[in-house]
């Protein structure tokens, strides 16, 4: 499917539809993935895979299988954490 224009269109439509799933609590992202045979799947990135999510998410979107993937929690921008930002005063050279 990945090699045909029709397949690309189906995948693009599935990914677009998958974005609606991000309205569900615990769904932090969606993306294009592959199964072990190289066929496209829609990955649904979840902050914990719950029974409620399993029940809410369709098995497929436009013929593309949907796979739940547990990412633990919502991703965070990754500077060093814990620094007291507010305590920093402007340096005297400014």
């Amino acid at each position: 499917m990945t090699g045909s224009g029709e397949g690309h269109a189906a995948l693009a439509a599935a990914l677009a539809a998958a974005e609606d799933l991000m309205a569900l609590p615990g769904v932090e992202g969606v993306g294009q993935g592959e199964d072990g045979a190289g066929a496209p799947v829609v990955l649904v990135l979840c902050a914990g895979v719950t029974d409620a999510l399993r029940a809410s998410i369709p098995a497929e979107l436009g013929g593309i299988p949907v796979v739940l993937y547990d990412i633990g929690e919502r991703p965070t921008a990754q500077p060093i954490e814990g620094w007291p930002y507010d305590d920093l005063s402007e340096p005297d050279f400014m």
Partner: protein
């Protein structure tokens, strides 16, 4: 409904259930054998060559001649007709490695001139992130670049939209002891991050630096080969960053849309992202991600406990108007 775990999903369908179920069924028994420190699923290697055959991987402290082992501790060549592969990984410890060759966790937190890709850097009001790579204005090709930059994230160099152009950038970043004596450059430009639910493509910014103060070499990786290479699912990618040093990951997803937490209740939606297995931690933001041929593929900016999120480097260079190399 496909609610199986990704570990099973990644196996060939005709093979998935038998090898997966056998591993699950026999895992505890295998771990009980002397010398076995782990069990997993993967491809079987013979004489260092990937055979492509799925197998149950049995990780051992060190390999021992089979004749030296009691029968109860030997690992059979097959389990329930599924192939096994014994892999020596050395002892596994929780926490920091204790061996004499362990990499210092502070390896890239110090001041360096010229600084390199991978070094600690940061806007004077943030903690610290990573200097991804050197770059210059894309329009100057061929020609004489008049300005040189460090490429990193908006939230590293521009304080998540909270900075002014010209603000000082420290190397190392403030968290790593950087002060006004450690200014390596000034914020030159950045792509604003939106927090209104619309799509962001990149978390990216530039600090202008003196040519002599930053080299394009990336610590432990060398020089970027090409400005851009397409990335495919299951590709292995690499980065060097301030916190976790040199790491690799495997691409799980492309064209991903994901919500990212920026603290203080701010969440930004990012589209067209690359998702990999975890290869980063706090402080690695801004690392340039390369494929195994040292071609640029992305700019690392976020992660969870199990995945890392990467901007597509094509968008990064296009939106900032820079290039990393001449190729």
């Amino acid at each position: 409904m496909h609610t199986f775990e990704i570990g099973r999903a990644q196996l060939a369908p005709e093979f998935a259930e038998a090898v997966y179920d056998t591993k699950e069924e026999r895992e505890e028994e295998l771990l009980g054998r002397n010398n076995v420190v782990g069990v997993g699923l993967g491809n079987k290697f013979t004489d260092g060559v990937d055979t492509g055959e799925r197998c149950i991987q049995v990780f051992v402290d060190h390999k021992v001649d089979v004749d030296m082992l009691p029968v109860k501790d030997r690992v059979p060549k097959t389990l329930n007709k599924q192939p096994t592969d014994v892999i020596a990984v050395g002892p596994i410890f929780a926490g920091e490695p204790t061996g004499a060759i362990a990499v210092s966790p502070q390896a890239l937190e110090g001041r360096r001139r010229p600084a390199m890709g991978g070094d600690s850097v940061g806007h004077y009001q943030i903690t610290a992130g990573t200097a991804g790579a050197g770059c210059y204005d894309a329009e100057i090709m061929p020609g004489i670049p008049r300005r040189y930059y460090i490429l990193s994230n908006n939230h590293v160099l521009a304080n998540s939209n909270g900075a002014n152009i010209g603000d000082p950038i420290y190397q190392p970043g403030p968290f790593d002891g950087g002060t006004a004596d450690d200014i390596i450059g000034r914020l030159a430009r950045y792509v604003p991050i939106t927090f209104d639910g619309s799509c962001n493509l990149v978390d990216a910014a530039l600090a202008e630096v003196d040519f002599r103060d930053f080299t394009r070499e990336i610590y432990y990786q060398g020089y970027v080969n090409h400005n851009y290479a397409p990335v495919n699912i299951n590709d292995v990618v690499q980065k060097t960053g301030r916190t976790t040093n040199f790491t690799t990951g495997r691409v799980l997803s492309v064209n991903a849309t994901v919500n990212v937490n920026y603290g203080s209740g701010k969440v930004a939606k990012f589209c067209k992202q690359i998702i990999t297995t975890t290869m980063s931690a706090g402080g690695d933001s801004g690392s340039l991600v390369l494929d195994t041929d040292e071609n640029a593929i992305g700019l690392l900016f976020a992660g969870s406990t199990s995945v890392t999120i990467i901007n597509n480097i094509g968008y990064v260079q296009s939106l900032l108007g820079v290039r990393l190399t001449e190729k």
